[in-house]
Structure formats: C-alpha cells, structure tokens
C-alpha cells in the first residue's frame, strides 16, 4: 500500500553518476560488518524470486501433461508445486527478517555514527550551520532511509529480480514469442520515465503544501487570542482556506499523474497478454509451441506489469534515500576544527591563565580579536565588559578552547590548551552559559550532565554548596522531579541554578560565567548571585559582565572594544582613568533611579 507518491528529491539534492557511485561504494563499505546478513538476505531473495517464477512454469508443464493425458507427469508437477510453494513461504519469511535485520542495523549504526560525529564537531561548525539543518540530518535524512528499508527495499529488490527472472524464463520457453511480447516495452518505458519525473515534482508540491497547511494551522491556533481580539476570524479563516485548498489542488495534481499512468501500464499489460494468446495460439495451432507454454506466458505476463508500476514509484524513494545518504556522508567527512592533540596532556587542577598575542577571525570575515595579551592569576576574578560584538564572548570561548586562536596562544598552568586532553580541559575550564539549558529528564539527570560518574551524594553536595538544595527538594518529587521537555516546569531562575550546580559538581580551576542579560524575579536574582559568589571563591573566574555592579565586585576589569583589550585595571582605577570605562560608569549611574520615584 505504501509507495504511491510517498517520496521525491529536490532538484539540487539529486545525485549525478559520480556521486551515486561514491554513495554506493561507501554504503557497501559500511555494510561490511553485517556482510553475512546481507549475503544471506540477498541469497534468500534470489532463490525466492527464482522459485516464484518457476511456479507458473510448473503449472504450464502440468497443462501440457494434461494435454498429453500423462497423469504421472501431472502428479509429479503437483508434488513439485506443493514443495516449492511451502519452501517459498519459509524463504520469503526469512528473507524479510534478514533484510530488515541488515537494514535496521545499518540504520542504527548510522544514527550513532552521525550523532557521534556531530558531538565531536567543534563550535565553529555549530556557529556556521543552522540548528534546524543539523537536526534534519538526524531526522528527515535518516527517516527517508528508514522508510526505504521498512517499506520499499524488499519490494524494490524482489521486483527487479522478478522482472529479470520472468524475462529469462519467457525467453527460454520461447524466444520468438518473447520477442513478440516486447512490443509494449517502448510505451511502458516512456510512460514510466515521464511518470517518475512528474510524480517527483508532484510529491515535492504536496510536501510543501502539507508544510504550509500545518504551519498555517499551527499559527492560527497559537495566535487564536490575537485573531479574536482583532476580529480577524473571518479573514484568517479565508487565508487558511486558500492554503488548505492549494494543498487540495496539489493532491489532485498528484492523483491525476497516477490516474493516467496506471491505465497506460494496465493497457500495455493486457495488450501483451492478448498478443501472447493470439500469436502463441497461432504457433500452437502450427505445432511450433505447446499449449502449456502459452498458458505460462499468459500467467506470467499477468503478474509482470504490477512490478513495473511499483518500481517506477519506488525509484523516487530510492533516489531520495540516496540523496539523504550523500548528505550524511559529507557530514561524516566534515573536518574537526578544534581537534584533540595526538599526545594529550593532563591539566593541573588549579593554575593561572596566560593569553599571549591572541588574534582571532572566523573563516571568512574581519578579525574579531587582535593582539590580546592578558594574564589572569590563580584565584583572580576578572570581569570583561564592552559593547555587543566587541569580542568579549569570543575571548571567553578561546579561553575555554571552544575555538582555537588564529594567532598567538593561550596557556593554562603553562600548558598550551591545544596540547591538553579534551577530558581534562572540560574538568578544568567550565563555561556557564547565560541561560541554563535543560534536557529531558530529572533535575538530578540535568546536573549530572556535568559529570556522568557523579554519585547522588555528590549532586546533593553540589546543590548544598551553592545553597539551593532546599529549593529543589521542595519540588513535587524533589531532585528527582521530571522537568518536561525544554525545562518548562522550571523557572528561568531555577534553570540558571541548575546550570550553576553543574559547575559546582565539576569543581573547575577556571570558571567562565556569562551573566544573564534578562532580569529574574528579585527573590531568585539574589539566590543566583549568592550561588555565583560561592562558585567564584578560590577559583580563577572570568565574568562576562552586563552589569557594572558585577564588574565592581571583581578584582580587575577588562574593557574589550573593537577586538582589542582597551583598558585593564581595578574598577576604581578605570573609573578614574577617564576612558571608556569612565563613560560607561557615568551612563550607568545616570540610569539609576531611586525606588518608587515617579519617573520622567
């Protein structure tokens, strides 16, 4: 049932011959671990199809035996028929299982492999590519493959085998009659090619139509309150109607394409049968052919044209799966821009950070940082301030080695970060992002993200240390409360606290805090600040500060402007310096308003 118009490929993802060959080669290589299964499935399919084709031949033989009045041959044919039919039952059964095993194992490993690759790719990749596109590699691209494995592959392979098998048997039985039967091949070929192209386009139109209708529906539901407030119910319903009926027309377009193609193939089939009957019958009457052969022809031809119809549809499915594989293989070949050293070094638990002559620019584009020199002593607190895009976040990312500098070097305890082992790097230098990202699972699972091996006690301890244990214990099921997808049950402040608890669990040597720009409710704000203070104690800390009150609490302040470290010193020094920081401070003081004032 599946198959009709259920796949298609965009023009720009279609593979040329070279790409297609590469995809096949690579797939064959990836299939090597399940060689035995693949060979087994292939053999079973070949034997099964071969036997399937012999059934009508046996039937023809039986007819001939009847024609001759030879009951011994008739009985032998019947026994053979029974044996083959039963054998085929088991053959097909295990063919389906073997093929599914091989295909699904391949898919499972491909999913893991691609995801592992994604996890290994470094931040520059994630900054460059859209999240939606990355996700679609793991979902729609692999799903189109899965669809092929589940619904199409067996049908595709057995139909091809069946076509060849039938052709061979017919040619052996009577090559003259076989040649006559080829009369409809040109028509079927032309029609099938046209159908393939048209149905591919039709499928893409339907797919876009479904997408448009669903997002229109989604928007109408999400915005229903606004729509009612502005009395737009009628207009919006009309708009939805337009999208909905455009989808209807796309569906009908796709139906029309199938509706002319199916009769053409049907007609070709029936014409060929009639030709076999007419010419074959004439040959029987001439004594050049047996009646049984004609019967075999008629029976086989009856079942020959259905595979043709199915194949021309399955072809689109195969094409789309191949396009998906091609994209996945190029992802697997993606270069890792921040690689781990060949002989990685462990970092010491506490140390200073030395930034020497660091410059950085993205692959294309002007330098983001230039000639930054900075020494952050062990246990020092440094605030980085400056306008958006000045480069303060980039500097922080370089210190955490989410990127490598294009010039200069960054050392931790005298070890160039490029030499450090990835594991020890993530133990020693931690970035706590602005907004706490929450994964599906419990609060505890979410904290454990920082260190998979942490015990329950260690997690409790981390929460105690930053003084928020009681807050999470108060949740319905305490720390084992499930936070639904994207953490919708936790407030923004609680999500930040989870984020800080993660840092506490790791106990890093360098902590990089990205201060949140949006404000929390006053109660939580104070708790977050207290937790941050605890974390900063006895630790080298770099705060990307958005509030001058935060900067003022740090040992030193660095002002980053236009990719350079413009000013560096204590808060008091910089305020007195008469430079950028002085100006920022003046603006900030001006904005302070006493509580409850009447405003402007």
């Amino acid at each position: 049932m599946a198959g009709w118009m259920s796949a298609g490929v965009d023009e720009d993802s279609k593979l040329d011959k070279g790409d297609a060959q590469k995809v096949v080669k690579r797939t064959a290589a990836l299939l090597r671990p399940y060689r035995a299964l693949v060979i087994r499935a292939g053999t079973l399919l070949v034997v099964w199809t071969g036997l399937l084709v012999t059934l009508p031949v046996l039937f023809g033989k039986a007819i001939d035996a009847i024609d001759r009045g030879d009951s011994a041959v008739l009985n032998r044919s019947i026994v053979a028929y029974v044996v083959i039919a039963v054998a085929n039952y088991f053959l097909w059964r295990s063919a389906i299982i073997s093929l599914a095993r091989a295909g699904e194992k391949f898919l499972r490993d491909l999913r893991r492999r691609v995801f592992d690759k994604l996890l290994n790719l470094s931040m520059p990749f994630y900054d460059r590519e859209k999240a939606g596109v990355i996700v679609s590699r793991m979902t729609s691209d692999i799903d189109s493959l899965a669809e092929l494995v589940q619904f199409g592959l067996q049908m595709f392979l057995s139909n091809i085998l069946l076509l060849f098998g039938v052709a061979i048997v017919l040619a052996i039985l009577s090559w003259q009659l076989f040649l006559v039967c080829l009369v409809s091949v040109p028509l079927v070929t032309i029609a099938s090619r046209k159908f393939q192209r048209d149905s591919n386009d039709a499928y893409l139109r339907v797919r876009d139509g479904i997408g448009a209708t669903l997002s229109s529906l989604q928007e109408g539901l999400a915005g229903v309150r606004v729509i009612q407030s502005y009395s737009r119910t009628k207009i919006e319903s009309e708009r939805f109607h337009a999208t909905n009926y455009s989808l209807f027309r796309s569906h009908m377009n796709s139906t029309r394409i199938a509706a002319w193609y199916l009769p053409v193939v049907d007609l070709a089939g029936i014409t060929t049968t009639a030709v076999a009957l007419g010419i074959g019958g004439w040959m029987v009457n001439d004594g050049r052919l047996s009646l049984g052969t004609v019967v075999t022809f008629v029976l086989l031809l009856q079942n020959l044209f259905e595979p043709v119809q199915q194949l021309s549809q399955l072809f689109n499915m195969v094409q789309s799966a191949a396009a998906g594989l091609n994209k996945l293989y190029s992802l697997l070949d993606e270069e890792i821009e921040v690689p781990e050293a060949v002989a990685p070094v462990e970092l010491p638990s506490r140390a200073d950070v030395l930034v020497t002559g660091v410059g950085f620019s993205y692959a294309t584009g002007p330098p983001v940082l230039r000639g930054v020199d900075l020494h952050i002593g062990m246990g020092e607190r440094l605030a980085l301030v400056g306008p958006t895009g000045a480069g303060k976040s980039t500097l922080a990312k370089l210190i955490a080695r989410l990127y490598d500098p294009t010039e200069g070097s960054i050392e931790y305890g005298g070890i160039d970060l490029r030499l450090a082992s990835r594991a020890s790097l993530r133990d020693r230098i931690i970035v706590v992002p602005q907004e706490g990202h929450i994964f599906d699972g419990t609060v505890r699972d979410n904290i454990r993200v920082a260190r998979a091996s942490a015990t329950d006690e260690e997690i409790d301890d981390a929460l105690h240390r930053i003084g928020v244990h009681h807050r999470f214990v108060a949740l319905p099921e305490g720390i084992d409360t499930e936070v639904r997808e994207r953490g919708s049950r936790l407030s923004a402040g609680e999500r930040q606290l989870v984020s800080l608890a993660r840092a506490a669990l790791v106990d890093p040597g360098v902590l990089i805090l990205d201060e949140a720009t949006s404000s929390l409710d006053p109660g939580t704000e104070a708790v977050v600040e207290a937790a941050m203070d605890v974390l900063m104690t006895d630790r080298t800390t770099i705060v990307i500060a958005h509030r001058l009150s935060t900067a003022a609490r740090c040992d030193r302040v660095g002002v980053v402007d236009a990719g350079m470290l413009a000013e560096l010193g204590t808060h008091d020094d910089l305020v007195g310096l008469g430079g950028r920081y002085t100006a920022l401070f003046a603006a900030w003081q001006g904005a302070q308003e006493p509580i409850g004032s009447t405003g402007p």
């Binding site: 028929y81 209807f248 006053p522 904005a591």
Partner: protein, 593 residues
C-alpha cells in the same frame, strides 16, 4: 479523559461525522462505485475471454484473433476504469479532508478563550492533521471496497456455476486471506505507531542536544548524550524489527493461501480434464480467478481496521466540532454610540470565576471616564489581567455588568466591540508575515501613513527602518527574528493602528530592554493622551504614566488614587509595588549591551 473513555461515552458520534461526510459526497462516491463495478466486470471478463481463446481458438477451431481482440477491448475498459476509479476516489476523499479541515479551523477560531485555555495546541493540531488523514483513508477506500466485494461475489458465483466441486476446493482456503489480512493490519498498525513514537523520542534527544550544544561542549557531556542517543537508536531498531516480524509473519502466509487453492485446482481439476469432465481453458480460468481473488480479500480485511481508525478519528473530531461557541453575538446588537469623547468604561458589581468555586473578581466596581488612563496594580493572582480580558468579552461575567460608552458589552456585536478595544498581551504573538501586515492586522486596509504613525508612536519606527526590508521584512519562523522588546513594540503599534476607543496594555513593556524603556515610556505618554487606557504593569515608571491608579486585592478594588497618593497612604500598595520596583531598579543596573 482518556481516549478509551471517549470511545465509550461517544459511541456513534464518529460514525455520524463519517455518514455526514459520505452524504455530502454521495454523488461522487456513487460515481466512484459505479466506475469500480464496471472495472470489476471488465477485470473478471478478461479471464473468461482468455479461456474462450484457449478452448475455442487454440484447442477448438474458433477465431483466435476475435478472442485476442476482445481481450484487448475489455482490458482497455478495465484499464481506463483503473485510472478513473483512482481519480474519483481520491477526489472525494481529498475534498472531504479539505472541507473538514476548513470546518475544524473555522470552528476553532470561533471558540471562546476558555476552550483554548483548556486545550493544548498539539491536540488541536492532530485533529486538523492525523485524524483527518484517517478519515480520508477510509473514504478513498470506499469505491475500492465496493469493487472488491463485487469481485469476490461475482468470481465466486462464476466459479461455482462452472464447476461447483472444483470451486469449493479452490476457494476453500481463501477466507484465510481475509483472516490474515485483518490480523496483519491489526499487528502492523501498533508496530508502525511504535516506530513513530520512538523516532520522535530520538528526534527530541537530537534537538535538545543541538540546542544545548554549548552546555554539552562546555561540560564535556558528549559521551552522555551519545549514550542517550544510542538508547533511543536501539529502541527504534527493536520496534522496527517488530514491524518486520509482523510483515514476515503475514506476507508469506498471504502468498501461500492462494497456492492452496491452485494446488487443489491442479490436482483435482487436472484429473477431471484427464477424465474429460473439464476443459483445459476452464482449469486456467480457475487458476486466474483464484489469484484474482486474493488482493480483494486481503483488502477487505484491512478495511475493517481502517474503518475502526476512521470512526475513532471521527469521535475526536466530533468532540471539537460539537463544542458550542459560548461567546456569541447578541440577537439584536446595539451599535456603539458615535460620541465625541468615546471610551467611557464602567464595571459594576462584577463577579467572575474561571473555575467554578474559585472566584477571581468579587463585586468589582470601576468607572473610567473617556480619555482617562488607569493603571491596575495588584499582586500575582489578584485578578488584574482578568479585568482587561472581560472588557472585550473574551470571557462572560457571572453577574454584574460591563459597559462601554453606555452600552452593555454583551449587547454590542463582537466585531464592533473588539475593534473598539486595542489590547496588547504580555506574551506577544506576531504572525509570519511582513512587519506592515502585522501592524495593520486589525485594519487590513490601513494606509502607509497610519502604519508608520502607529510604529512611531510605539517606538518601533527606528528599528523597523533598520530591518533588511524595512516594513516589508518578513517575520516569523522562516523570516527575521526580532527581540522580545521589539516584538512587544510591534504589538503596541498593532493595537494603536486601528485607533481604538480603549487601549489595554497588559504588562506590555515587560520584555522591552530597560535601556530602551524610557523611549517607549515617552511614546506611550503620547499614545495615551486623549485615549482611554488601561495599563496593567508592575514597573513603577510605567504605572506613573496613568492619571489614576487602582489597587486590586482579592478581586476587589482595595484603594484608588494617584500613584503618589497611594504611595504615601497605602501600605499594601507599597508592598505590591516593592516587588515590581525592585525588579525595575535591577533591570536598570546594566551596561549597554
């Protein structure tokens, strides 16, 4: 309510919708069935003609050419009917799908806020999507089912008429095809659903990992995520194998069944031919018919499962379509008076509750003069947002009355009432269309000048000018994404573009960047001049813009006066304000970023 309860309580409602859909398309469906029956007759005649060709043309001395040509002619009719049947069947089914989707959408758009408060978007999405697909599937299958039934009956009758003993033997195994077909559909469906479910879980792991890649990299949690994915990949694998074993258990069996008949035909029939009681052509005919019957019997089995799914989908659809629209136009609407100074609002002794037994407003009284601006202040849950939602009749009140310019709001036509009130919600929703269309949302024919002025007043003109295509910039999922503050300012522009009698700002500046807030405050002062405005806010500076402040506590007006008066005299006011003010001051403690 679980799905199961629904089925039990609403037996028949799903069937009713299906019947209605079929009734509305009875002509198309009748045509589809007629074509299907013609197709069946042609299809069944072909083997008869082949038999005649063999018995008469080959073994006898009749005209082989005649029979061959007849095969082509009848086969041609069958071929044309194949295409036509498909076309008609799908046209009916797709039309039903589209019509019902329109109907669901329109109905949902008219349903009151309280309904939407209860319903999740995802649930309503599946009403308009997967449920309709089940419907469509069933209706597509109707003509084919008619043809299938016809095939089974006619072929069986012919076979019995030709040779009843051979027919009995040949058809003996065929009910098994129906049985296996039904069982296959029953086994495969849950397995396929299982794959979808596991795939969705896998997608969730991928999505949240990619969205949180900074956390994953920052803490070196790569292995943990890889393990999470490996688990999901294993689940998908296992479910897929379940589906494969459902296929393996049924497809070969379905193929074996006709072979039982064929063997009987060969064995018994072959010897009958040898005895001279049967023609060879008839033997071949039996063979072809047995094969011909398999597909219809299998599909009839699947149709049962199909019907069950369609009627369950129909029940779910009916549960939405049968929900009555609670907020409707009055029978005899009173127009709002055309007065010079419009926008006088009166709440008189209003009681209101969202959930029975949990009153939100209790004897709420408030009179707002035309052109006056009033700030409503209260702690969370005091009912301050509710006040704003009752005026445009998003909800109907329990008792008391609400008037706009001297007319009871429930006596005004809904369109007129809601056009007269411009409301800006806290969670801003913009549509995926241009900035211009979003601002002109309430007044689609607004001139450029009106749109620009509204944007200017809302403090949005400046950043709109900097957008890639200025007012023509497309917003939303596939368009440009704005910051929370920018979105709110466009929402404010949208509210004032239609020049409403009353403007309601429900915490409308909460997401505006504090450094930009003074600009909006200046702008809002402009907007509020000479226009009745209800401001719900907790930032002191925004509250101070209003002529008068109302302190709401436990669903009643607790105090009233200017901001300064209340600040000086009311303890509770200071308390409530302290939270907002603290937040406000905190937000100002910020470097330009």
């Amino acid at each position: 309510m679980t799905e199961l309860d629904l089925t039990k309580e609403r037996t028949g409602t799903g069937l009713r919708l299906l019947r209605q859909a079929i009734g509305e398309h009875r002509r198309g469906i009748a045509l589809g069935m007629a074509v299907s029956i013609l197709w069946t007759l042609a299809k069944i005649s072909v083997p008869l003609l082949i038999r005649q060709g063999i018995d008469d043309g080959i073994r006898g001395d009749g005209s082989l050419l005649l029979w061959s040509l007849l095969v082509v002619a009848v086969g041609g009719v069958s071929a044309i009917c194949t295409g036509l049947r498909r076309y008609v069947a799908f046209r009916n089914a797709r039309a039903v799908e589209a019509e019902f989707r329109d109907r669901v959408y329109q109905h949902i758009q008219r349903l009151h806020f309280a309904f939407h408060d209860r319903m999740q978007t995802g649930q309503l999405m599946s009403r308009g999507n997967t449920d309709l697909q089940q419907f469509q599937n069933f209706i597509t299958m109707l003509p084919v089912t008619a043809a299938n039934l016809m095939t089974v009956v006619v072929a069986a009758v012919i076979l019995f008429w030709l040779n009843w003993s051979l027919a009995t033997l040949a058809l003996m195994g065929l009910p098994l095809a129906n049985y296996f077909g039904r069982r296959f559909a029953k086994k495969l469906h849950p397995a396929v659903m299982g794959i979808q479910e596991e795939s969705a879980q896998l997608a969730t792991v991928v999505e949240e990992t990619i969205a949180g890649v900074r956390v994953v990299k920052g803490f070196g949690a790569e292995q943990m995520r890889a393990d999470a994915l490996a688990k999901e990949a294993d689940d998908v694998y296992l479910r897929s194998l379940e589906a494969a074993s459902a296929r393996a258990a049924h497809l070969p069996a379905l193929e074996l069944v006709p072979n039982i008949g064929l063997i009987a035909v060969l064995g018994y029939g072959g010897h009958q031919v040898l005895n001279g009681t049967l023609e060879v052509g008839e033997l071949v005919l039996f063979n072809i018919y047995v094969v011909l019957l398999i597909q219809p019997l299998r599909m009839l089995g699947m149709m049962v499962a199909n019907y069950q799914r369609a009627s369950a989908a129909g029940e779910r659809l009916a549960s939405v379509l049968d929900t009555e629209v609670e907020i409707v136009d009055p029978d005899q609407p009173t127009p709002l008076p055309d007065v010079m100074e419009a926008g006088a609002v009166t709440f008189r002794d209003v009681d209101f509750e969202y959930e029975p037994g949990e009153p939100v407003l209790r004897g709420f009284d408030l009179e707002i003069a035309a052109g006056e601006s009033v700030a409503i202040v209260g702690a969370t849950g005091s009912g301050k947002s509710t006040v704003a939602r009752l005026l445009p009749r998003f909800y109907d009140i329990g008792s008391g009355s609400i008037e706009l310019d001297g007319v009871l709001v429930n006596e005004v036509a809904l369109d007129e009432l809601r056009t007269a009130i411009g409301i800006v919600f806290e969670d801003t929703f913009l549509f995926s269309s241009s900035v211009r269309d979003n601002i002109a949302f309430g007044v689609p024919d607004a001139s450029d000048e009106v749109i620009r002025r509204a944007a200017l007043l809302a403090g949005a003109a400046e950043f709109i000018a900097e957008l890639p295509d200025s007012y023509d910039t497309e917003l939303g999922e596939r368009g440009f994404s704005l910051s929370g503050g920018q979105r709110q300012r466009i929402a404010i522009a949208r509210a004032i573009a239609s020049d409403p009698r009353v403007l309601v700002l429900d915490d409308a500046t909460s997401a505006v960047d504090p450094t930009k807030e003074h600009e909006i405050r200046d702008a809002l002062g402009e907007v509020m001049r000479d226009r009745t405005t209800i401001v719900i806010a907790h930032r002191a500076a925004t509250i101070a813009l209003a002529d008068r402040v109302v302190l709401l506590d436990e669903g009643r007006v607790a105090a009233m006066g200017t901001h300064d008066e209340l600040l000086a005299s009311n303890e509770r006011y200071r308390e409530v304000l302290a939270q907002g003010a603290a937040k406000h001051a905190k937000a100002h403690d910020e470097v330009v970023d």
